[in-house]
């Protein structure tokens, strides 16, 4: 079954066509990667899906429901969670509170629930502990997020996305800025996640993508130039061209 589908999705910034008639299909249960050189339009594509940017043309469907033009805060209601390329957390909150705020949204955000004492929401705290344990940050629960190492902040970023119990995870360069050791840890973690979630991931690091993905989409100058399994992509001549010739 296809979970997410875009149809001739296009985004122009003035003269620049950042995303050009992209038809993307993400199948349920798969780990799908979008790769491409810098400026290929990967993050723009993400921002279109999550409503941060409005498309110039084209359509987005989630479970065959059109969601084109939805506002960013409506998207999580569908069960779409995202992590950001640049660490995007609540720096002065503790690790626990960072995740708590996301878990609370999923569990009980409406009406007067928000005025009940925070301690009367044990199910939220339970979910937070679960998410923190999942990313391996349980011991750092009471530390302020800004005091965490960069690698741990990246994990926290994912924990925030997980706390909302999503069906579909969008991960924007989860390994950006990580050391080789941290990258390995993150890869293992994503592999684990991919058994339970449908994941769409943007990545720069080829080795990460090749070992993890079920399917890879390659973008270059806003368009899809190749799509297929890791083996097919590795053998693809146009991809090699884009990566070797496309570097500035």
């Amino acid at each position: 079954m296809i979970l997410l589908r875009t149809e001739k999705l296009t985004k122009r910034f003035g003269e620049l066509v950042a995303v050009d008639q992209v038809n993307l299909k993400v199948e349920e249960g798969r780990l799908h990667s979008v790769i491409g050189p810098n400026g290929a339009g990967k993050t723009t594509l993400f921002n279109l899906i999550t409503g941060e940017l409005q498309p110039t043309a084209g359509h987005i469907f989630f479970r065959e429901k059109e969601i084109t033009g939805w506002l960013p805060h409506k998207i999580p209601h569908l069960g779409i969670g995202r992590s950001f390329q640049r660490t995007n957390i609540f720096p002065k909150f503790t690790t626990f509170d960072n995740v708590w705020i996301a878990a609370f949204f999923q569990k009980a955000p409406r009406g007067l629930n928000a005025l009940k004492k925070t301690a009367t929401h044990p199910e939220v705290a339970e979910k937070v502990k679960e998410s923190l344990a999942e990313v391996g940050l349980a011991e750092r629960a009471n530390q302020r997020a800004c005091e965490l190492s960069h690698g741990d902040q990246r994990l926290l970023e994912v924990a925030i996305a997980l706390a909302a119990s999503p069906l579909f995870l969008l991960l924007d360069e989860p390994t950006s800025g990580l050391s080789p050791e941290e990258t390995r840890r993150m890869m293992e973690f994503i592999k684990k996640l991919s058994q339970r979630y449908t994941i769409l991931i943007i990545e720069h690091k080829m080795n990460v993508v090749m070992s993890l993905s079920d399917k890879i989409t390659v973008m270059h100058f806003g368009s899809i130039i190749a799509e297929g399994s890791p083996q097919e992509i590795q053998a693809d001549e146009s991809v090699r061209q884009a990566y070797l010739g496309g570097r500035r």
Partner: protein, 326 residues
């Protein structure tokens, strides 16, 4: 914060301190001034829900303060309403006005938000200024009676006595403070702080950021209206200044001086501001100069205001007391 369980001591200490100060204050300053302190403390703490918790620099809190004062004043003069009716009416008009004005202001971010709140403040100021017949214009609205605190025919407290009115105000202040404390410690308060910390992320999690900003705005407006009612009865007049933008500025100032990073900080700011302005303005006409200097010091050295200064001093003291820390 959810994760940090507060100790009994740190939780109740501020309330104990407040209780002591409330009882002792009228022996050191005139009861009227002591009353003004708690009225402005309500305003400053309510404003801090916006600035300190939600990250919204609203520069127009006197709109709601003034509207509450005028509404209660008019009801008390013309209809001789019950004390509770006047308090309720002022709160209500603060809520409604903030709901309408806030709806528009929160559409914009940063400086534009600040300027919109300021613009509405000016708008209502000029309405009050021009509508002579209703508000008394420049001369203010005189002759506001203090309704007695009575139930049926039984009068519990004769509020024409300065001390009695003082304690009524202090009681309303404590109740408001407890309510606001509840709000900022509830999940709603967490959402406010999440918006302050990272608006985009709060939205990406799924919170409707604009709606929650609006809720914060309305809450602050309601408490400001309530404070306005107490002010209208204090001197029996609603001066035009009540709704002037300078009053809005004073509130911002109180919160910053006291410390916006702390729930109780703005109370200290309000007390200090009122006390200084009362005692200094008599002997020195240029006293606001002092405020300017204080403001510069706060911005440069104590971003957390008096609360931070106190905490640092407290920390130093504790260092000294530790054994073997010579």
């Amino acid at each position: 914060m959810v994760s940090q369980g507060q100790g009994f001591y740190s939780r109740w200490m501020p309330w104990l301190a407040l209780g002591v100060v409330i009882v002792l204050l009228p022996f050191f300053v005139r009861p009227a001034i002591a009353t003004v302190i708690w009225i402005f403390a309500i305003l400053a703490v309510a404003f801090n829900i916006l600035l300190g918790y939600t990250g919204l620099l609203a520069f127009g809190q006197s709109t709601f303060f003034g509207l509450g004062a005028y509404a209660a004043g008019l009801l008390l003069i013309h209809y001789k309403v019950h004390l509770f009716t006047s308090l309720l009416a002022g709160t209500l008009i603060g809520l409604v006005a903030a709901a309408l004005i806030g709806r528009i202001c929160i559409q914009r971010l940063g400086l534009y938000f600040v300027l919109l709140t300021f613009a509405f403040n000016q708008l209502f100021f000029f309405i009050a200024y021009q509508w002579n017949k209703l508000t008394g214009g420049e001369d203010g609205l005189p002759g506001v009676p203090r309704a007695p605190l009575q139930f049926g025919s039984f009068t519990l407290l004769d509020l024409s006595q300065p001390f009695n009115y003082y304690f009524l105000t202090a009681a309303v202040f404590l109740l408001s403070l407890a309510a606001m404390k509840w709000i900022v410690e509830s999940p709603l308060g967490m959402i406010f702080q999440a918006i302050r910390e990272n608006e985009a992320r709060a939205g990406a999690i799924g919170y409707n950021v604009k709606r929650y900003k609006w809720i914060a705005f309305v809450i602050a407006g309601g408490f400001s209206g309530l404070a306005g009612v107490l002010y209208s009865m204090l001197f029996g007049i609603v001066p035009l200044d009540t709704i002037h933008w300078i009053t809005s500025g004073d509130v911002v100032f109180m919160a910053l001086i006291g410390g916006i990073g702390n729930f109780y900080g703005p109370i200290i700011g309000a007390a200090l501001f009122i006390w200084l302005s009362e005692s200094l303005s008599v002997i020195w006409a240029r006293w606001p100069l002092m405020l300017g200097i204080a403001f510069v010091v706060v911005v440069l050295f104590f971003r957390g205001g008096c609360m931070e200064a106190l905490e640092r001093l407290w920390g130093l003291g504790m260092e000294k007391l530790k054994p073997g820390s010579r």
